[in-house]
Symmetry: C2
C-alpha cells in the first residue's frame, strides 16, 4: 500500500475522542513515512496530547463537537464548525485526500452527502465494510445508511460493491450476491426480485441470491442488502461472536480442570481471539460519495482506529470514487 | 411437562425422512409413557423400520410426499394425500393434538393456513423459535414466513410472541422488543415506528427497540421482526457460530502444540459444543394457526427431531392456540 496521502481525522469523534484519535494518528505517521495527517477539533484539547512535532502532522481547529446521539439533520444545520463537518470540508476543498471519523454515523453520512454530494448515477451512498469469513473476509453493503431501499438502490449498491471489492482486494469480477431468505428465484419480496432481474443484465459478476449463513461461508465476495437488513446482520454477527467468547470464557473459567485446561489452551485461544478480533475489520467506507469518507466504530481503540486510517489510505491509493464513477459510466453506455 | 398428548409426525419430511423420523418417534414413546404418536406417510416404508409394536404408536398411510423444493402453492393444490397434508388434517379433525414436520416450510405454512385457518384477530401466522443467549434462550418471530409485514402484522406477532413465551417459559409479562437498527424513536422505517406506537398501547410488556446484538445479550424475552429480517438474523447466527467452530477446530488442529492443547481442552470444548448445539433449539412453532404445528429443521437428526416433538408436547400442555385467542380477545376488549 502506498502511504502517499493526506488524511483528515475528526479527532473529537467516537466514544473516546482525542485520547484515542491522537495516539492512533501518531502511530500511523510513525509507520508510514510519507503519510500526512490533519487532526481536526478543539486545538486546546489536541495540542497537549502531541508528543513533540511532526512536520507531517497539522491541526485544524474546529470549535464544535457533534455528540454521538445528536440528530443528523440538526448537527448538519446547527454545527457548521464541528470537527466532523470541517474534516469533510477538507476533503471537499482538496486539502485532504480522505477523512476518517469515529463520530455520529448519521451525521457523518448527512454531512458527506451535503458537502461532497453523491457520484453521478448514485442516488444514495451506502456503508460498506469487510466481514470475517472462513476464507478471510468479504465485503458487505449497505450496513445501515438506508433503512428503505428500492430495487434501483440495491442495483447501485451492487455496482459500487463490485468496484470497491475489485480494487481493494485486487480481484477481477468479484462475485456479487443479493442477501435473501432463500436461493430460489421466487424467494423474498418484489423489491429484491426486481433488483435481481436488473443485476442479471449488469456488467458485473452477479451470481444470485445468498442467505444469512452464506456470509461466514464466503459464498460470494460482495453481499448486497438494504441498510436495515445489513445492519441487523452485522450486529447479529457481533452478538453471536461475543456469545461464543462468553461460553469459551465460562468453560475455561469454571472448575479446576477448566482453568488448568485454559492455561494450556491459552495460545490457541489467543489466536482464535485474533482471528475474530473486530478491530481488524474496523473502517467502513461511505461509498457513493464524491470523496473518500471512512467511518470508524464509535468505540474504536487505538489499534482499531489505525485500521480505519489504513482503509482510507487504501481507498486514496485506489482512487475509489473515480473508479466507481468510471465503471458506472461504462456500464450505462 | 405432561406427556398426555397425541402427536402426528410427517414421517416423510426432512432431508432424511423415515430413517430419522421413526427412531425419533420410538425414542420419545420410550421416554414418555403416556405419549401417543401417529406416523404419517408411506406405510410400506415406515412399517419395516418399527421394532415390534407399541400400542401407543399407529401409522396413517399417505400416498404422496412433498419435496423440499416444491412450490408451496403447488404442493397445496396437487398433493392432497401428502404426508404433510394428512398430518395437518389429523390436527384439524381432532385425531392428533399437534403435528410435527421436518418438511418443506412454505408448504407446511400454506397447508396449515388452508386447513387449520388462522386464529380470529390474526392475519398471518409466524414462525417462532428459541435462540441461544448468555442467559439461556429467548424467543423470536417471525423467522421467515412473511417477507413483507405491515405494522399491524408486527403488532400481532408481538402479542402472540408474548403469549407463547409466557406460557412456555412460565414467566409473567415477558419483555418484548422490536428488532431495529438503533434504539432511538426515530430509527428504522415508517412501518416499524408505527408498530412501536401501536405496541406502546398494547396490554403486553413492550420495552422498545432492540438491535441485532441484543439477541445474544438477552435484552428482552421476545424479539419481533418481519420474516425477512428474522430469517436473515437466524441464519447469520448459525453462520457465525459455524465460523467460530471452524476457527476453534483450526486452532486446535494445527501444529503439535495446538493438537496437544486440544486434547487437554477437549472436555471444555465438548461442553462449549453442547451449549451451542443447534439441535437443542430445534422445533419452530407456526404460531397464529388454529392448531399446533411445529416445524423441525430439514436436516434434523434423531436428537433434534425429538426436541421438536417436545416443543409440540409443551404447546399441547399449555394449550397455546387457545391462550393466544383468549389474550387477543381480552386485549381487544
Amino acid at each position: 500500500m502506498s502511504d502517499h496521502a493526506t488524511i483528515a481525522i475528526d479527532a473529537m469523534g467516537g466514544d473516546h475522542g482525542p485520547p484515542v484519535c491522537v495516539p492512533a494518528a501518531l502511530a500511523m505517521l510513525e509507520k508510514n513515512p510519507r503519510l500526512r495527517i490533519i487532526l481536526v477539533g478543539l486545538e486546546e484539547v489536541i495540542r497537549p496530547l502531541l508528543n513533540g512535532n511532526s512536520e507531517r502532522l497539522s491541526i485544524v481547529h474546529a470549535s464544535e463537537v457533534v455528540s454521538m446521539d445528536e440528530k443528523p439533520a440538526e448537527a448538519l444545520r446547527k454545527k457548521k464548525d464541528s470537527s466532523l463537518r470541517v474534516a469533510v470540508n477538507l476533503v471537499k476543498d482538496g486539502t485532504a485526500d480522505a477523512c476518517v471519523s469515529a463520530g455520529n454515523t448519521g451525521a457523518l453520512m448527512a454531512t458527506g452527502k451535503f458537502v461532497l454530494k453523491t457520484l453521478p448515477g448514485i442516488d444514495r451512498p451506502a456503508i460498506m465494510a469487510a466481514l470475517p469469513t472462513i476464507e478471510g473476509h468479504l465485503h458487505m453493503l449497505d450496513l445501515g445508511a438506508n433503512s428503505d431501499c428500492t430495487s434501483e438502490h440495491l442495483y447501485q449498491f451492487a455496482i459500487m460493491g463490485s468496484v470497491v471489492a475489485s480494487v481493494i482486494e485486487n480481484i477481477d469480477n468479484p462475485r456479487v450476491g443479493l442477501l435473501n431468505i432463500g436461493e430460489e428465484d421466487m424467494k423474498g419480496n418484489d423489491n429484491i426480485r426486481q433488483a435481481a432481474a436488473m443485476l442479471a443484465d449488469a456488467h458485473i459478476n452477479y451470481v444470485g441470491f445468498v442467505e444469512g449463513d452464506d456470509i461466514a461461508r464466503h459464498k460470494v465476495d460482495v453481499i448486497v442488502a438494504d441498510g436495515f437488513t445489513g445492519n441487523v446482520a452485522l450486529k447479529v454477527m457481533e452478538g453471536t461472536a461475543s456469545l461464543v467468547s462468553h461460553f469459551i470464557k465460562k468453560g475455561f473459567g469454571s472448575g479446576l480442570y477448566g482453568r488448568l485446561a485454559g492455561v494450556v489452551a491459552l495460545p490457541v485461544l489467543m489466536k482464535l481471539r485474533k482471528s475474530l478480533d473486530p478491530r481488524q475489520y474496523n473502517g467502513a467506507s461511505l461509498v457513493g460519495l464524491n470523496g473518500i469518507v471512512v467511518k470508524s466504530h464509535g468505540g474504536a481503540d487505538e489499534v482499531a482506529l489505525q485500521q480505519a486510517i489504513r482503509v482510507a489510505m487504501l481507498e486514496v491509493e485506489k482512487k475509489v470514487p473515480d473508479t466507481i464513477h468510471q465503471l458506472l459510466a461504462e456500464s450505462e453506455s
